[in-house]
């Protein structure tokens, strides 16, 4: 093998490591958490620039202009690169991730990627403008001879070491309860928020972690190639990484690695061997066309990639002494009994209103939801029942009025904070986490799981496994009660409509709520299960849970609900027992006719 062939292979190995890292970082953001970071490449650029100016000597009127020039020894420039990527993610994340819709986030990040490149290209004194930085000293310059093959081997080992750390951390996150929460957020944000998940925090953590990984990959790359310029980080480079994930399998770290080997490394390198033909620039252009075809082709024929995200199946029975030990787990709602004095309402709405561009969906509603009762909420379609539930739970902000939970005003609290205080809702339309199994859907909701935090996840499985086993048992008890045990490892998205409702109710119960807001919990459920749900709700009522339930089936309202509140056109038009309401003509005309 000639020296140049050997050097080519070394280069390929380093690129594989760098692209592998970048793909894992993007996989955490896009594949796992669902953040479509079309600006990913600027975080790699930040790491590369930071590592360059940290390791280069002061500029002092040389042929290049740049800031810093600290001549820091290895490994500080690499660490600095990782930090720079993470730091850049903070302001951008705060700008983009807090309020914008997902597709807007993607577009904003794309625009930011282009602007950042424009600014760096035009602002020469900062990072030498369009010409970029060159003569970036390789790590350990001065200590070892950086021109030998031995040094190349060392570089590959260092790259592989960083890749291993990144992969380890990413695997811990993906396989942890925290990773499960990220996937739940990816599947359905409002439902995750209604289960007490702080979406902004989750997104920021993922964004910063991805930034750190991208920054590190940039630092490693610039140390090897020694140059870095705006032309190396144009926005289409991010698209290549997306193509890699789509081909390899998003949501799967190994898929991300495979994608990195196939697309940026394999695909772009393979085309070097095509003999030059056509006008200059023809082959690179066709390469981009092929990247586009790869994306579209895979999305059409194999949307989940070559190595799809694995379905997580829990062992049949946790390693315990057989069936001997049947633990009496606390019944859902048990938390409520101790604190609530039965007569005082737990949830109170005070003149609450919600307007949509002039339409008064909820128009000054006051109501109490007391523990130990199921309060029914009925009314014709469009009366504002579901909107009221959304406002009470914080899914929609109230336009006016006050909402009190256990005496504390929660009107301005986001949904997740209300959920953490024990105020939990279900949705009228199915809102399962489709690509999580039924069991995982339940586990996501468990509050205060030690593995359901960024740091908890990084500490690894031993830190949270005992709690996980306990929760799996609790979830399995619920599944058995609702006769869903057989479907435990099915993807929730593949269930029937009625089964999805059950999953949603069980999920809410996993949270051990004090106030439960149910939006048509029996709609579409098999009749044999309806009775089961009803008796379960009765049991919850006896436990002291406060329940507000929207329901159309009047026989069920009659059996379960007292008091009943009737809404029409955004207002409460009657309340009391159903039998008393039946005697009021106005209400019968508005709703109960027949």
């Amino acid at each position: 093998m000639t020296a140049s062939e050997l050097y080519y292979l070394f280069t390929l190995a380093v690129y594989a490591g760098v692209d592998g890292m970048a793909c894992i970082g993007l996989n955490l953001q896009f594949g796992v958490a669902g953040l479509v970071n079309f600006g990913f490449i600027i975080f790699q650029a930040a790491g590369a620039y930071a590592a360059a100016v940290l390791s280069m000597p002061p500029a002092n009127g040389g042929f290049q202009q740049y800031v810093l020039g600290l001549r820091l020894p290895f490994p500080l420039p690499w660490l600095g690169g990782a930090v720079a990527g993470g730091l850049l993610a903070v302001p951008i994340g705060l700008l983009v991730l807090r309020r914008l819709r997902t597709d807007y986030q993607a577009i904003s990040l794309l625009v930011l990627s282009v602007i950042a490149n424009l600014v760096i290209t035009n602002a020469r004194p900062f990072l030498n403008g369009a010409a970029g930085l060159s003569l970036v000293p390789p790590p350990l310059t001065g200590l070892v001879d950086t021109t030998t093959a031995g040094y190349q081997w060392l570089y590959i080992v260092l790259t592989a070491f960083c890749l291993a750390i990144v992969l380890l951390a990413a695997n811990r996150i993906v396989n942890s309860p925290y990773g499960r929460t990220l996937r739940a957020m990816r599947e359905r944000e409002p439902a995750a928020a209604a289960l007490g998940k702080d979406l902004v925090r989750l997104k920021m953590e993922t964004f910063v972690l991805g930034g750190v990984i991208a920054g590190l990959s940039g630092a490693i790359l610039v140390g090897f190639i020694g140059v870095w310029a705006p032309a190396t980080w144009l926005y289409p480079e991010t698209i290549v990484l997306f193509a890699a994930l789509i081909v390899g399998g998003r949501g799967n770290n190994l898929g991300a690695l495979l994608g990195a080997l196939l697309v940026p490394v394999g695909f772009e390198e393979a085309t070097r061997f095509i003999p030059e033909f056509g006008p200059p620039g023809f082959i690179p252009a066709m390469q981009w066309v092929a990247i586009g075809l790869l994306i579209i082709g895979f999305l059409w024929f194999r949307p989940r990639g070559l190595l799809p995200e694995p379905r997580r199946v829990f062992a049949e029975s946790p390693a315990r002494g057989g069936a001997a030990r049947v633990e009496e787990t606390p019944r859902p709602g048990a938390r409520g009994i101790a604190s609530a004095v039965p007569s005082t309402p737990l949830l109170r709405a005070d003149d609450v209103a919600r307007r949509f561009e002039g339409l008064r969906a909820v128009d000054g509603v006051s109501l109490d939801v007391s523990p130990g009762r199921i309060t029914g909420l009925i009314g014709p379609n469009g009366a504002g029942k579901s909107t009221l539930l959304a406002v009470l739970a914080g899914t929609l902000p109230a336009s006016a009025g006050r909402i009190l939970m256990d005496g504390e005003e929660v009107t301005r609290f986001p949904a997740y904070q209300r959920a953490r205080r024990g105020l939990v809702r279900t949705f009228q339309l199915s809102s399962e986490f489709a690509q999580l199994t039924v069991l995982e859907n339940l586990l996501v909701a468990a509050p205060a799981h030690p593995g359901d935090s960024f740091l908890g996840a990084l500490r690894g499985k031993p830190y949270w496994w005992a709690d996980e086993l306990r929760l799996v048992e609790r979830a399995r008890e619920l599944l058995a009660r609702f006769r869903m045990s057989a479907a435990e490892s099915e993807y929730a998205g593949n269930l029937s409509g009625g089964q999805k409702r059950l999953v949603e109710i069980m999920r809410a119960l996993m949270l051990m709520p004090r106030v439960l807001l149910l939006d048509e919990p029996m709609a579409g459920v098999h009749p044999s299960i309806v009775g089961e749900i009803a008796s379960f709700l009765e049991a919850l009522r006896e436990d002291g849970l406060a329940i507000l339930m929207v329901e159309h089936e009047l026989s069920m309202v009659e059996r379960l609900c007292d008091p009943v509140i009737v809404m029409a056109q955004g207002q409460v038009i009657g309340r009391g027992s159903l039998s008393a309401l039946r005697r009021q003509r106005t209400i019968v005309e508005a709703y109960l006719a027949g």
């Binding site: 602007i115 698209i239 056509g278 066309v289």
Partner: protein
């Protein structure tokens, strides 16, 4: 004749160009609920079609008409061949954004392979200056402004007075309900792609007329400016896009006069960023960017 008056005049021309493009883009998004990132690619392709017509000896205005027709056909084809099948499969919003980004990449690179990297320019016959109210513009620039005003009035009339426009608005608000009311939403959507595609093709040509020379790389620049104008005004809102176009056009040209021309797009984007912080739904929209996507 101050520098600023001249800049304001250029700003008016830029605003006209951006307005034609941004209104088309935002209507696609508002009615079909799809962010078509291949829009910039179709614009620049249309500009090259007009270049071909122009080079064959026809006037640039003939080229403009051909480019508008080409843009309409290309947009409809893109919808029918690529987007509609993915939509029928229930691809998510964000999946569609990725598909359209891939389409954009393919389109501009096929064009690149065909026409190469060199910049070209149109042959425009008449460069006589027109003076009006302290502004000095060329005849061509006045025509560009005229085209933009006519296009905006036509869009306004379409949406307000015609059955087609009303059906478009109904489809935008609630496609299922519109279908149940007897509106043939499939044909309405086709019409949207044709009309906005024509705007896209025309916009690509006037943008190329407005710049001294142009190349394939301009496509992505156009797209970014259009995104800025559309988001600034409130995405999906045609009148918002007009407002956004005027703001972006004037701000870029005036800041070029005050600061340095290098930073003109940076300034426009800085304003976009501020708007995203303070009013993420855009200037003229109440919901827009907020809330979960479908």
């Amino acid at each position: 004749m101050s520098l600023y008056a001249a800049a304001a005049g250029f700003g008016l021309v830029s605003a006209s160009v951006i307005a034609i493009a941004a209104v088309g883009f935002t209507m696609q998004f508002g009615i079909t609920n799809l962010i078509n990132l291949a829009y910039g690619g179709i614009m620049i392709t249309a500009a090259f079609v007009a270049y071909g017509v122009n080079r064959a000896g026809f006037s640039i205005w003939t080229g403009l008409a051909v480019a508008a027709a080409g843009g309409a056909v290309a947009s409809l084809a893109l919808h029918r061949v690529l987007y509609a099948p993915f939509l029928r499969r229930g691809t998510s919003h964000i999946g569609m954004v990725i598909v359209s980004l891939a389409a954009a990449l393919m389109l501009s690179n096929v064009l690149l392979a065909l026409v190469g990297y060199d910049n070209v320019s149109y042959v425009v016959a008449d460069e006589a200056a027109v003076t009006a109210g302290g502004l000095i513009l060329t005849r061509v620039q006045v025509v560009v402004i005229g085209i933009a005003v006519a296009a905006m009035l036509a869009i306004h009339a379409l949406l307000t007075f015609t059955r087609l426009g009303k059906a478009m608005r109904a489809t935008a608000t609630n496609p299922t309900l519109a279908r149940n009311c007897g509106i043939p939403t499939g044909r309405i959507i086709d019409a949207v792609w044709l009309i906005t595609g024509a705007l896209c093709g025309a916009a690509g040509t006037v943008a190329a007329i407005d710049s001294a020379s142009f190349g394939v790389a301009n496509g992505s620049t156009y797209l970014i400016v259009i995104l800025a104008a559309a988001v600034l005004g409130g995405a999906g809102q045609p009148y918002g896009a007009m407002l956004g176009a005027v703001l972006i056009g004037e701000i870029t040209e005036l800041s070029a006069a005050v600061l340095s021309p290098q930073y003109k797009s940076v300034v426009a984007f800085a304003i976009l960023v501020v708007v995203m912080i303070l009013r993420p739904q855009g200037l003229l929209s109440k919901i827009g960017a907020l809330g979960p996507a479908g």
